[in-house]
């Protein structure tokens, strides 16, 4: 399924890059262990307070996306590779065709970037809030 989205004003031109394919399914987001997930944990880097653009070509567009994983195993492997974040745990977030989800261009196993159009937040998606 494809869709014409209205992207937030802070997104760079041509971000996200086509194809603008909407996916459905369960993805996993890393959040702090031991407490209810907070809204700030579902904010893309570009929307966080004190945002400083990341380094590298195309980094600003990926700053506008949320990092998610396509399976618990992928998320846990990501953490195992970086034990400094071992206190984070994956929580499911269900995609119902909102926005655009692309596989990581670096081909890191199971890592996806998710861009949401204007008017929706990832925390609302996580909490199952419908804008229909």
């Amino acid at each position: 399924m494809t869709s014409n989205h209205v992207w937030p004003a802070h997104f760079p031109n041509d971000c996200p890059s086509p194809p603008h394919e909407c996916r459905s399914g369960v993805y996993y987001r890393l959040v702090a262990d031991g407490s209810m997930p907070k809204e700030v944990e579902f904010l893309p880097h570009a929307e966080r307070p004190g945002y400083v653009p990341s380094r590298g070509k195309g980094a600003h567009c990926s700053d506008c996306a949320l990092s998610v994983f396509d399976s618990i195993e992928s998320a846990l492997n990501f953490v195992a590779a970086r034990p400094a974040i071992s206190a984070k745990q994956p929580v499911p977030i269900r995609a119902n065709g909102e926005g655009v989800i692309h596989a990581d261009e670096l081909h890191y196993i199971g890592h996806f970037l998710w861009w949401l159009p204007f008017g929706t937040t990832f925390f609302e998606v996580y909490m199952g809030v419908s804008h229909a």
Binding site: H45, A65, A81, S86
Partner: protein, 441 residues
């Protein structure tokens, strides 16, 4: 566990600091990003860096917004800490093709050391320190064997029952080593590893069943392994697996204890109570055999230019020990990367063991010597030269296999005496876990 691993700041000692202004890196290829931040990448190293013209693996380890706890403002999240690992073309190819894990690349650094980068931007860090692996916090090393793109390395097969003990041995050549290890290399490593496990299991069994000081170690016989089979052979590495047939529970416990001891000896781990885990007594004949078997294994690996990653599973529990080249703290060793070939004799002189000593221990070594003294006094004089101060009242002393043997022989065979007593703290340190074999990692 060596003291340095507890605080992870050994890299800040002045003699290990590099000129950070030299370190202006360029990304060659990214491997992993998260929320817009590149976490693992290949970089061109600092221009004119002595001894290494190739690429570096740069990998985020801690600090910054990703590791911040919930609600921590980014500016209070702690300074970002990265590791930089110089790669030979062969090791880079192995990394990119998924034949070695990131964990192995870090632990088996061909340079014999690592570089820690700190600051907001790893491409222009504000602080660079040359560090040894054992000086880093434990959470710097990946806890799983994953390729640089997150693919799990071949693991142990499906559980075959709680009675079995499975073993996976991954042979990785060091710099200057074979393009690919051969089956004859692997056969020798298997033999040396089995000898170590046999002795260590016997000692563990004796410790579990015989009160200390109440008789000699009781042998439980060598472990009965199935034939090691070659599970995977890819250009550059060999993966072997085996299973121990367990006839009684105590044998499995002893073998697991032997493998855990291997990990403790090479990693400097601590037991759950935070104590140094080795309960053997200095002079314990069984312990000496275990030490000797491990030294033999290390010597074999060194002469074959191999590192091994040993992973095992007993029941549902898996664990791993990494036995790599010595992490000699030497800039000249890094320079030697570009100088082929590395002579075997030079490598043979490299320390395989590094022990931690206190000011008091070092004071004994520094007492005056007779200039015309014999072999023992010459040994003490050499050891003085090898001492490295790593902090206030804290020293490390790298020892070669030959020196370990001499220290043990002088103290054991010649008993008490003025000069022998000066070696006693060192002798006892050789039996302490967490200090004895860190250089083997």
């Amino acid at each position: 566990m060596p003291e340095g691993r507890e605080h992870g700041d050994a890299g800040e000692s002045a003699n290990r600091l590099e000129d950070a202004s030299m370190w202006r890196l360029q990304v060659v290829r990214g491997f992993c990003e998260y929320d817009g931040t590149l976490l693992d990448f290949l970089a061109n190293g600092p221009a004119g860096f002595p001894g290494h013209e190739g690429h570096w693996l740069i990998t985020w380890r801690s600090g910054g917004r990703l590791s911040a706890s919930l609600n921590t403002p980014p500016e209070l999240a702690g300074i970002e800490r990265w590791l930089a690992v110089p790669l030979s073309p062969t090791r880079e190819r192995q990394l990119l093709q998924g034949h070695v894990s990131v964990r192995e690349v870090i632990a088996f650094s061909e340079a014999g050391c690592l570089y820690e980068l700190r600051g907001e931007n790893p491409l222009a860090p504000s602080l660079v320190a040359r560090v040894q692996l054992w000086e880093l916090p434990e959470n710097f090393l990946p806890s799983a064997d994953l390729t640089v793109q997150g693919q799990p390395m071949p693991e142990l097969g499906p559980p075959s029952g709680t009675e079995a003990l499975e073993l996976r041995v991954h042979l990785v050549p060091d710099f200057g080593g074979p393009e690919s290890p051969t089956l004859s290399d692997s056969g020798a490593v298997q033999g040396a590893l089995q000898r170590f496990l046999g002795w260590a299991a016997a000692v563990a069994h004796a410790e579990a069943t015989v009160p200390k000081g109440k008789g000699p170690a009781v042998s439980i016989g060598p472990p009965k392994w199935s034939a090691f089979s070659l599970t995977r052979a890819v250009p550059g590495t060999l993966l072997l697996s085996a299973e121990a047939r367990i006839e009684e529970a105590s044998q499995r416990e002893a073998l697991v204890a032997a493998l855990e001891r291997l990990k403790v000896l090479v990693h400097g781990a601590r037991d759950q109570d935070g104590k140094e885990g080795d309960s053997s007594h200095p002079g314990d004949q069984g312990s000496l055999l275990v030490v000797t078997a491990l030294v033999a294994l290390a010597d074999l690996l060194r002469s074959a230019h191999l590192s091994v990653s040993v992973r095992w599973r007993s029941g549902k529990e898996t664990d791993c020990a990494l036995i790599g080249p010595p992490m000699a703290d030497s800039a000249s060793q890094l320079r030697s990367i570009a100088e082929e070939p590395i002579l075997d004799r030079a490598r043979a002189r490299t320390a395989i063991i590094q022990v931690s000593l206190t000011e008091e221990d070092v004071g004994l070594l520094r007492l005056s010597l007779d200039p015309a003294g014999g072999g023992l006094q010459k040994l003490i004089a050499t050891l003085r030269d090898q001492l490295q101060q790593i902090g206030e009242g804290r020293y490390v002393l790298p020892l070669s296999a030959d020196q370990v043997e001499k220290v043990i022989r002088y103290v054991q065979e010649y008993g008490q005496g003025g000069y022998q007593d000066r070696l006693r703290p060192l002798y006892e340190a050789l039996y302490r876990v967490g200090v004895a074999f860190v250089g083997l990692r």
